[in-house]
Amino acid sequence: MNLSRTARAVLWGALAAGLAVIYVPLAVVVLNSFNADRTFGWPPPGFTLDWWAAAWRSTGMREALWTSVQAASGATLIALLLGTMAAFAVQRYSFFGRDTVSLLIVLPIALPGIVTGIALSNTFHTVLGIPLGLFTVIVGHATFCVVTVYNNVLARLRRLGVSIEEASADLGADTFTTFRLVTFPMMRSALLAGGLLAFALSFDEIIVTTFTAGAGVRTLPIWIFENLFRPNQAPVVNVVAAALIVLSVIPIWLAQRITGEASRY
């Protein structure tokens, strides 16, 4: 391409600067988790591991972490089931309103989280009379997690085609056997990738959670948010944030290994 040297240099510079802006704030959080100064004065007067030890001892944090794991696991299971069913229906059959199904599945993440949040909490609270708790959090999360599984399975089914399944049927396998021995093994990595994304999405969610969690239910994001404005909790919150940044590399790495391509949904 015939770009001038200056233009090239400017574009590369913009890319480098942009990536720096993306990563510097995250690096500061990780660095601050070792900052000896309680209020994160800059530059740090010294480094310490005390905050990591304090964070590990914090029972509130550990309970919140456990709640988050439960909520994300429940939501992921439901999303796997519903997302796979919907993807099969849309990809393998043609029927009236097929496009609407896709739209319906995307809707919960396309609308602002606060709308989904109050719509669900209103329904639980005033229409159905279900007390808010872990169960309602899982239902809320599952609603917007379906799309991640749906998109992954749909893409896989589109690539697979039906000929292998037809071969299986021709060889005498019934519907269930074909699914167990042929279809499912071929979809496994798509399910894993979709499930991973669903788990991450649920684990990080705060807005829908705020409205669907009862008074006693505290997920990790809620715990972080509650402690964000308490000065003496700041170092512990910062450690949790740093740990989450470091841990976020794992799903990326896994997703890369599974799909060989990076995709958000």
Binding site: M1, N2, R8, V10, L11, W12, A14, L15, G18, L19, V21, I22, Y23, P25, L26, V28, V29, N32, T39, F40, W42, L81, L82, A86, A89, Y93, V101, L104, P108, L111, P112, G113, I114, V115, I118, A119, L120, N122, T123, A142, T143, A169, D174, T177, D204, I206, I207, P221, I224, F225, L228, N238, A241, L244, I245, V249, P251, I252, Q256, R264
Partner: protein, 277 residues
């Protein structure tokens, strides 16, 4: 028994389809859409000022308050302004980055650059907003303090990858030969950009803007973390549910971002942006 069920299912495609659709449609079509509809209905109810109970009779009062209230108009306009500013900043920052990724980097470097842009999406939303709280605090690295400017800055940071990725995908699809042809015909860099790159990348830009616009419009957490005392639409909804205990009014306010998004989606539909999501 199993065998007969399998045969039955194999022969009746419609039954298979209904079974597959049953649970997803019950969940999203019935429960979720039902919840949204119930919320819309609630927007036309009111609350008893003394007891705080819902009064289930139809009234336009919430929407009248919303339209006539000076405060709400200011906040709605401010939210729109914030969403527009965030979208514009992200566009200006993301476009050169995406262009360098798609057209200058080698295929191997491209793969790593995409991962580099994607990775922060996995880091917790809250953690990233918090990172800016630390950076912007009076004795932090930047020390610029909190307010509406800090909110715009933080939101731009949060949604930047959502703008980079669609533009990158759009530019990657743009054949290099077109750029070469423009050059052969005598167009310099700027002119090639204006007459070839920009028109062809526009749907991708709009696709990115849908994310940045919608995500900024519904946000109330970032404002609380770095916004100082500023308020956006999301805060009004939140406060009316919590402190004010006025669900009908909150529901009415919540229709504002939904309406804005619907108008926005309808306006950009003809650019082909929705196929770029």
């Amino acid at each position: 028994m199993r065998r007969r069920l399998a045969t039955f299912l194999h022969r009746h495609a419609r039954v298979r389809l209904s079974l597959l659709l049953s649970a997803p449609l019950a969940w999203l079509g019935l429960a979720y859409l039902g919840a949204l509809a119930a919320l819309l209905v609630t927007a036309f109810w009111s609350t008893d000022t003394f007891t705080g109970n819902l009064i289930r009779t139809f009234t336009w009062a919430n929407f009248e308050d919303l339209v006539t209230g000076e405060v709400y108009r200011t906040i709605a306009l401010r939210s729109l302004g914030v969403a527009a500013a965030v979208t514009l900043i992200d566009l200006v920052v993301a476009f050169p980055m995406a262009f360098a990724m798609a057209k200058l980097a080698s295929p191997r470097a491209q793969r790593w650059l995409v991962i580099a842009v994607l990775t922060p999406l996995w880091a917790s939303y809250l953690v990233k907003a918090y990172a800016w709280r630390v950076l912007l605090s009076a004795d932090g690295l930047l020390g610029w303090g909190y307010g509406l400017g800090a909110t715009i800055l933080t939101l731009s940071y949060l949604w930047l990858p959502y703008m980079i990725l669609p533009i990158y995908a759009g530019l990657e699809r743009l054949p290099n030969s077109l750029l070469d042809a423009a050059g052969d015909l005598g167009a310099r860099g700027w002119r090639t950009f204006r007459t070839v790159v920009w028109p062809l990348a526009f749907p991708a830009v709009v696709a990115g803007s849908i994310f940045t616009f919608s995500l900024s419009l519904g946000d109330y957490i970032t404002v609380k973390i770095v916004g100082g005392r500023s308020q956006l639409i999301g805060n009004v909804v939140y406060d009316n549910i919590g402190a004010a205990n006025n669900l009908p009014f909150a529901a009415a306010v919540a229709t504002v971002p939904v309406l804005i998004m619907l108008v926005y989606l309808a306006a950009v539909r003809r650019t082909g942006a929705l196929e770029n999501l």
